[in-house]
Symmetry: C3
Subunit: 287 residues, 3 copies
């Protein structure tokens, strides 16, 4: 199983995660993510570049999974910095057009790609650092939450959070589990029910991001954090990471197909479709 292939040494008390097969290979545009690997440091940078707002479309997610797997299997790469090439936005979250007026098969394919993205990023053997250089609602926030460490630009104009409830939809249980493990149960409970978006300083206060840094220092800080995490022996760090993430990942792996079916039946409801159409109309008028 490639994603966990490097953790050759079994830790006491740990089970190996089952392989996480990619969805069957499909055609995709290979231009929504810029990947650069610095072989001397072993650090890759993945930049989301899908203007205007880095929506997480099926194409982008597929490209994300394939890019991440390539890095995972490249022995020259030990860490990944995830950031945005689009000014003012990290990612606006799941692409609503993928959830609106499409076939059941399309919903299923899209949701499997969302699951796959999270399983691969959250469970990556590499050190993953999110450099949140703009706003990051909903699915964009999940991407950041799935990294080992979060650095955000120190600017209250940008906000981050799982605001699904504001749109009339519900964050799935594994978004919630990921969130609870970072901010604790009580903050997550209020935040998810209110669909709260936190300006950077407040996000830092509740631990949703680990550090705030002026925009011009983001790269330098990311490199420093990476150096600190890469100073540890890979195998011990990887086994420890796996021990910390395992329970939450196992829960989705055990209920993966059920979660797809739940998504389909929820998103197919006429009331939900109507909400999403209204939301998209609103976004269009905003422009």
């Amino acid at each position: 199983p490639p994603a966990w292939g490097r953790a050759a040494r079994q830790p006491p008390g740990l089970l190996r995660l089952p392989g996480l097969p990619l969805t069957p290979c499909r055609a995709f545009s290979n231009n929504k993510i810029l990947v650069e690997l610095d072989e001397s440091s072993g650090i890759a940078t993945m930049k989301l570049k899908s203007p205007p707002v880095n929506s997480l479309s099926l194409d982008l997610l597929t490209e994300f999974c394939i890019s991440l797997e390539k890095l995972e299997n490249d022995r020259a790469c030990r860490g990944v910095i995830l950031t945005s090439a689009v000014p003012k936005i990290f990612s606006s979250g799941l692409d609503i057009t993928e959830m609106c007026g499409k076939s059941t098969e399309h919903y299923a394919e899209f949701w499997r790609a969302v699951q796959e993205t999270w399983l691969r990023l959250y469970g990556s053997n590499m050190v993953t650092v999110a450099v949140v250089n703009g706003s990051s609602p909903a699915g964009g926030c999940l991407l950041a939450l799935s990294c080992d460490y979060r650095i955000m630009v120190d600017n209250p104009k940008f906000s981050i959070g799982l605001n699904e409830a504001q749109l009339g939809i519900v964050a799935p249980f594994w978004f919630k589990d990921t969130f609870v493990n970072i901010v604790g149960h009580r903050v997550a409970e209020c935040s998810l029910q209110l669909g709260s978006l936190y300006p950077a300083p407040e996000a830092h206060k509740i631990g949703l991001v680990d550090e705030l840094v002026p925009e011009e220092k983001l790269q330098e800080k990311a490199a420093a954090v990476m150096a600190q995490w890469l100073a540890l022996p890979d195998h011990a760090r990887q086994l420890t990471k796996s021990m910390m993430k395992k329970a939450v990942m196992d829960r989705l792996v055990a209920h993966r197909e059920e979660d797809v079916q739940n998504f389909i039946s929820f998103i197919s409801k006429e009331s939900i479709q109507k909400s999403l159409r209204m939301y998209m109309e609103m976004l269009k008028k905003k422009k």
Copy 2:
């Protein structure tokens, strides 16, 4: 199942809770709780009015469940403010006279009413805000903990906490689970073992209450909090709430009868009966 009837839309990954049937209808004095529903705002106020200290007797709990169910089934009602009509006390907790020198059948009936109260309040589809306008030990604290949000009067004379251990008794596991989800494991561990009661400012510091407000501003603040929570679409908020509360509720639902039997065998011990009699004597002398 009435309590969950409004959550008609199934969320991804959520199971519907089984119906929580009321204990068979019994005669009860309908005057321990004042219920007022403001139809224009959709907000009801439930005021505990059982002087001198709002003890949670079987009568009060039965009335509580029935009142709450009526509101739950009333489409005009979307939120409930829970507070006290008795000065200086929110609720002194479970009525010790119900646990002292009574029959096994009585203990069982009483404990089922305690369980039912928690299941209905904690699992309510409505937004629930506790306005803790006086002291709130033990079962009184549990009532507050079971709401979505807690506002307490900013006065160090009033305290709140799960102080059961001080009385020689043990908070049941679902009191503990509710508490841990709010203050975290470490604070709960110390607090439950020491039977700590926290003056309002300290309760706020550990997150046991969410806000402190001067007495004359309690109503205004409760209305503001309610407005914030009711601004969300009901169905998304309800499904999210259910996702957050589900694990803890399921645990009691799965062990409900066992929990009743444990309560009976614990409370029937002569040593425990003796402690409770001594405690009641002490309370009488205090007056």
Copy 3:
């Protein structure tokens, strides 16, 4: 089952832990731990006295378990203060010589003693207070984490933490569970992956220790904390403690032999043996 024998009264919702049998009696040097019991207060002091650094050898752990069991069964004893008789060090953790170049049988015996120590200390019916009067890495930190309360000397020269990852090894899941219950999931996640050691003031900030006290006040403070915890009725405090610790203990009890086998296969790897030998060489040169 001796360790839990005093909790004669079953709490609501609690199961009795299975007896935790000592490993078959073996010869051991009875001089690595000083035990003094003050019968008037009911408080015993256990001082680790195994210079130069209180390494947790098989002999020390065996003596620890036997000493603790004696106190557990002594009705005159209600609380234990755990501290060090060696200046500047609480305990340096598991003795690496026990894990290096030994037989499979030896590794198994050693690991069972480590498990036994944790199960007995974490699950003790007595009030346990760690007085961390020096540095306390890895297994030394676990000893402190397994007590009800931690007081540390207020000196940034001394540090504490689960730094296993720095040595290329992995803290077992029950070290992790114990840690998470004290500092929360997010802090534990970073801390274990980075193998962080916290100077006393930082350890206090993240809740890893409960109080910082100048060296000359350690005893006085320990007595005060003990008095506060012993003021509660034993049976209620014990049942509450058991309720809080149970889930984590049950997990090891259910997987105990598997955990031994995992330890053996991990520690027997040539790569791990090599790391440990290099680490020991480095320690020797340091002297």
